[in-house]
C-alpha cells in the first residue's frame, strides 16, 4: 500500500518557532482517491497542507510524491511536480480578472492547453463563464472558491490539495463545490486531498479519512467507518450537520 501511494507523508513534524504544530504525522493518499482530513480549529490541518508545499518546512520526517522526495524542494518546484493547491482563504488575485487568474493557474505549461482547459472549467463551474471579465475581488465568496479550485485545476494536477473549500459558504454552494470535486474524481480520476471542518460533508465525499487532534493523527479509516464511529460522531458530527 505505502509503495503505491501517490502522496506519502511519514512522521512529519513541523514547528512554528518553538511551537510544535505537527507531531509525527503519517498520511498516505493513493492515486484516484479522495482523502479527507478532518479536525477542529487549530488541529494542524492547514499546517499539514502547507508543509506538503514546503512552507513551513518539515523539521523531521519525509514527504514523497510519486516516488520523489519533495521534503526539501522549493515551493514552486513542488508545484511543478503537478501538485496543485486551493489554499486556505482562497487567495485568488483580487485585482486581476477571472481570466487572468486562470491564466496564472496555467502558467506551468505556458498557457499551452489554456483554451481547452478553460472550457472544461466552464462546464464544471458555469458561473465562472459569466464572470470571466470581472475582477477576482468582485466575486462572491462561493465564486471565489470556484475560481480558486479552477485556477488550481488549470495546472493539470495529479494531486489536488483543497484547504477548507466550504469555509464561509452557503450550504447550497458547498454542495455544488463538493459535487464538482466528486465529478472530477469520477470522470478524470483526479486524486484529491481535502482538509475540512465540515466533517459530515467531507467524510461523505471521501473514500478514506483521517482525524487530526492537536497535531497528531488519532484515527483513520474509510469515510463510512469514520462517519459511523461514535467518537467522531460525538466530536465532529453531533450538534448539527453543516
Amino acid at each position: 500500500m505505502a509503495a503505491k501511494a501517490l502522496l506519502q507523508v511519514e512522521g512529519v513534524e513541523t514547528y512554528y518557532g518553538n511551537i510544535r504544530a505537527l507531531s509525527g504525522v503519517t498520511v498516505a493518499v493513493n492515486e484516484g482517491e479522495i482523502v479527507a482530513l478532518i479536525g477542529a480549529n487549530g488541529a494542524g490541518k492547514s499546517t499539514l497542507m502547507m508543509t506538503i508545499f514546503g512552507s513551513p518546512r518539515a523539521r523531521t520526517g519525509k514527504i514523497t510524491f510519486a516516488g520523489t522526495d519533495i521534503t526539501e524542494m522549493p515551493t514552486h518546484e513542488i508545484a511543478r511536480m503537478r501538485i496543485a493547491q486551493s489554499p486556505e482563504g482562497r487567495r485568488i488575485f483580487p485585482r486581476m480578472t477571472v481570466k487572468e487568474n486562470l491564466q496564472m493557474g496555467a502558467s506551468l505549461d505556458n498557457l499551452q492547453h489554456f483554451d481547452e482547459d478553460v472550457e472544461k472549467m466552464f462546464t464544471l463551474f458555469p458561473r465562472l463563464k459569466e464572470r470571466i471579465a470581472q475582477r477576482g475581488g468582485t466575486l462572491s465568496g462561493g465564486e471565489q472558491q470556484m475560481l480558486s479550485i479552477a485556477r488550481a485545476l488549470m495546472a493539470r494536477p495529479k494531486l489536488l490539495l483543497l484547504d477548507e473549500p466550504s469555509l464561509g459558504l452557503a450550504p447550497l454552494i458547498v454542495k455544488q463545490i463538493f459535487d464538482a470535486i466528486r465529478e472530477l474524481n469520477r470522470t478524470q480520476g483526479l486524486t484529491v486531498f481535502l482538509v475540512e471542518q465540515n466533517a459530515f460533508g467531507a467524510l461523505k465525499l471521501a473514500n478514506r479519512g483521517y482525524v487530526m487532534v492537536n497535531g497528531k493523527v488519532t484515527m483513520s479509516g474509510t469515510g463510512k467507518e469514520l462517519l459511523a464511529d461514535p467518537e467522531v460522531r460525538a466530536a465532529y458530527l453531533e450538534g448539527g450537520r453543516h
Binding site: 514552486h76 493547491q85 485568488i92 488575485f93 481570466k99 487572468e100 471579465a133 468582485t138 488550481a152
Partner: protein, 465 residues
C-alpha cells in the same frame, strides 16, 4: 406656489451668504491669530550682525484676507455648486457614462501627437532662441521624469515592491556614461545600452539580499541602498571626483553622422546649412528622450501581456498563491528589479549627456521620493496617469520658477521655486482626498473576452503585502 419657492430660494440664498460671511470672518480671525507671530514678525540680521525684528504687516494682511475671502467663496459658491452637481447626478444616474467624450477616448493619441509636434509648436510661437527654455526646462525635464516614473512603475506599480532607492540606478546610468564617455570617449550610442546593462546588474545585486523582504522593510533597505550609492559617489574621489562631480561629458552625436559641437567639421547646422544655434541639440535631445520614453512604455505594455508581466502583477497581489502555482518568485522579483533598473540606467545616461555634468548632488533621496510620488499620484500601474502626474508635478515646479511676479508681494528675496514641496504636498492631499488610488486608479486588464472593460478599482479589494 412658484412665487413661494422663489421666495424661499431667495431666503436660503441670503442665509447662505450670511453663513459665508460669518465663516469668512472666523477664518480671517483664526488666520490672524495663527499668522500674527509667524508671518507678521520676522527675525533678521542687520548689517551690524544684530538680530532685529522685521515687521511685515502688509503680508500678514494679505494672508488674512486670502483666508477670509477663500473661506467665504468656498461656503458661498463652491459648496452649493458641489451640492447641485451631486443632486443632478443623483437625478440622472449613469446617463452620462454611456458615451465617453472624444477627448477622453483618444487621450493617448492626442497626447502623443502633441508630444511629437511640441518642438515645432514652441519654435513657431516663441522663435528659435525663445523656445530653448520650453523645450529644455519643460519638455526634456518632464520626459526624463516620465521615463524614470515608468521605470519605477515596473517595480512598484506592477510587481508591488516598494523601492525608495530608485535614484541609485539613475546614478549608476549617469556615472556609467559620464566616466566611460570622458575617459575613453566612447559614443553615447554604445554607452546607452551599457549604462542600462550596468544598472540592471545593480538591480539584481540589490535584489538578491532583499528578496525575502516586503513592504516597509523593503522600503528601508532600498532607501539605504540609494544612500550607499550616493555616498560612494561622494567618497570615491579617485574615480568619481567626489562632490565636484564630472564635467565635460561629451554630447550625443546625431547617430554618429553629425555633431552638435559648433566647432566641429560636421556640425549639424553646417551640414544642413542652418544658422548655428543651441536649439537643434535640445530639439534632438527632446526627441531622443521621447523615444526612450516610448520604448519604456512599449516594453511595459508588452511585458504586461507576457507570462512574466502577469507573474509580476500576481506577485503584487499574493506572493504565497504565486508560489503555489509554480511561479519562481525569486526570478520574478529579480527580473522586475533588473528591468526597472535598466530604464533608470537609460534615463541616467541621457541625463548625463544632456547636462554635460554630473555630481552626487543630483542623486539625493529627494529624487527617489519625487519619482515615487509621481508613480503613486498617477495611479500605480497606469502609464497615462503617471505621465499626467509627471507633467503636473515637474511642470508645476518649472512654472513656479517662472512666477517672478510673486516677488512684488513677498519681497525681492523670495524664490518661488523653493516652494515646490508645497506643490507636492498640495497635489498629494488633493489626489488622496478625491482619488485615493491615484489619478488613474483603475487597472486595465490584459486579457479580454469580448471587449475591454475597466472596472473601477473602488470595487476591488486591495492586494496584501
Amino acid at each position: 406656489m412658484a412665487i413661494s419657492t422663489a421666495a424661499s430660494d431667495k431666503a436660503a440664498g441670503n442665509n447662505v451668504f450670511a453663513t459665508a460671511i460669518r465663516e469668512g470672518l472666523y477664518a480671517g480671525l483664526i488666520a490672524f491669530g495663527l499668522f500674527v507671530l509667524l508671518i507678521g514678525l520676522k527675525t533678521d540680521q542687520n548689517i551690524r550682525n544684530e538680530l532685529v525684528i522685521v515687521q511685515r504687516w502688509g503680508l500678514l494682511a494679505i494672508m488674512v484676507v486670502i483666508a477670509a475671502v477663500g473661506r467665504f467663496a468656498y461656503i458661498a459658491y463652491a459648496v452649493p455648486a458641489i451640492e447641485r452637481r451631486r443632486a443632478a447626478k443623483a437625478a440622472a444616474p449613469a446617463a452620462t457614462s454611456v458615451e465617453e467624450s472624444f477627448l477622453k477616448r483618444n487621450l493617448n493619441t492626442i497626447g502623443l501627437a502633441f508630444l511629437f509636434l511640441f518642438p515645432a509648436i514652441v519654435v513657431t510661437f516663441s522663435g528659435l532662441q525663445g523656445s530653448l527654455k520650453w523645450i529644455d526646462n519643460f519638455g526634456i525635464q518632464i520626459l526624463i521624469y516620465v521615463m524614470l516614473a515608468w521605470g519605477l512603475n515596473i517595480v512598484v506599480g506592477l510587481a508591488g515592491l516598494l523601492d525608495l532607492g530608485y535614484v541609485a540606478f539613475y546614478a549608476v546610468g549617469a556615472y556609467c556614461y559620464a566616466l566611460l564617455g570622458t575617459e575613453f570617449g566612447w559614443s553615447f550610442w554604445i554607452l546607452l545600452p551599457a549604462a542600462g546593462a550596468m544598472a540592471a546588474m545593480w538591480g539584481i545585486i540589490l535584489g538578491f539580499p532583499v528578496l525575502r523582504l516586503r513592504g516597509d522593510y523593503l522600503a528601508i533597505v532600498t532607501l539605504a541602498f540609494g544612500e550607499i550609492i550616493r555616498l560612494v559617489l561622494i567618497n570615491w574621489r579617485e574615480v568619481t571626483n567626489g562632490v565636484a562631480g564630472i564635467s565635460g561629458i561629451p554630447k550625443v552625436t546625431f547617430f554618429g553622422l553629425m555633431s552638435f559641437n559648433i566647432s566641429d567639421e560636421n556640425y549639424f547646422g553646417k551640414v544642413l546649412g542652418l544658422a548655428p544655434s543651441g536649439v537643434y541639440y535640445k530639439i534632438f535631445l527632446y526627441y531622443l528622450i521621447l523615444l526612450l520614453c516610448l520604448l519604456t512604455a512599449f516594453v511595459t505594455i508588452r511585458l504586461r501581456r507576457m507570462p512574466v508581466g502577469r507573474a509580476w502583477e500576481a506577485l503584487r497581489e499574493d506572493e504565497i498563491a504565486c508560489r503555489s502555482l509554480g511561479i519562481n518568485t525569486t526570478n520574478t522579483k529579480l527580473t522586475a528589479f533588473a528591468i526597472g533598473a535598466m530604464f533608470g540606467g537609460f534615463a541616467g545616461s541621457f541625463f548625463a549627456a544632456r547636462q554635460g555634468f554630473v555630481s552626487p548632488e543630483s542623486f539625493i533621496f529627494l529624487e527617489s521620493a519625487v519619482i515615487l510620488a509621481i508613480v503613486v499620484l498617477g495611479g500605480m500601474g497606469s502609464l497615462t496617469g503617471i505621465a499626467i502626474a509627471a507633467v503636473v508635478m515637474i511642470g508645476g515646479t518649472e512654472i513656479l520658477r517662472e512666477m517672478q511676479f510673486l516677488k512684488m508681494v513677498f519681497g525681492p528675496s523670495f524664490t518661488p521655486e523653493l516652494y515646490r514641496m508645497l506643490l507636492f504636498g498640495l497635489a498629494m492631499v488633493v489626489v488622496m482626498v478625491w482619488k485615493p488610488r491615484g489619478f488613474v486608479g483603475s487597472r486595465e486588464p490584459t486579457a479580454f473576452l469580448y471587449k475591454r472593460k475597466a472596472v473601477s478599482s473602488a470595487f476591488t479589494k486591495e492586494g496584501h503585502g
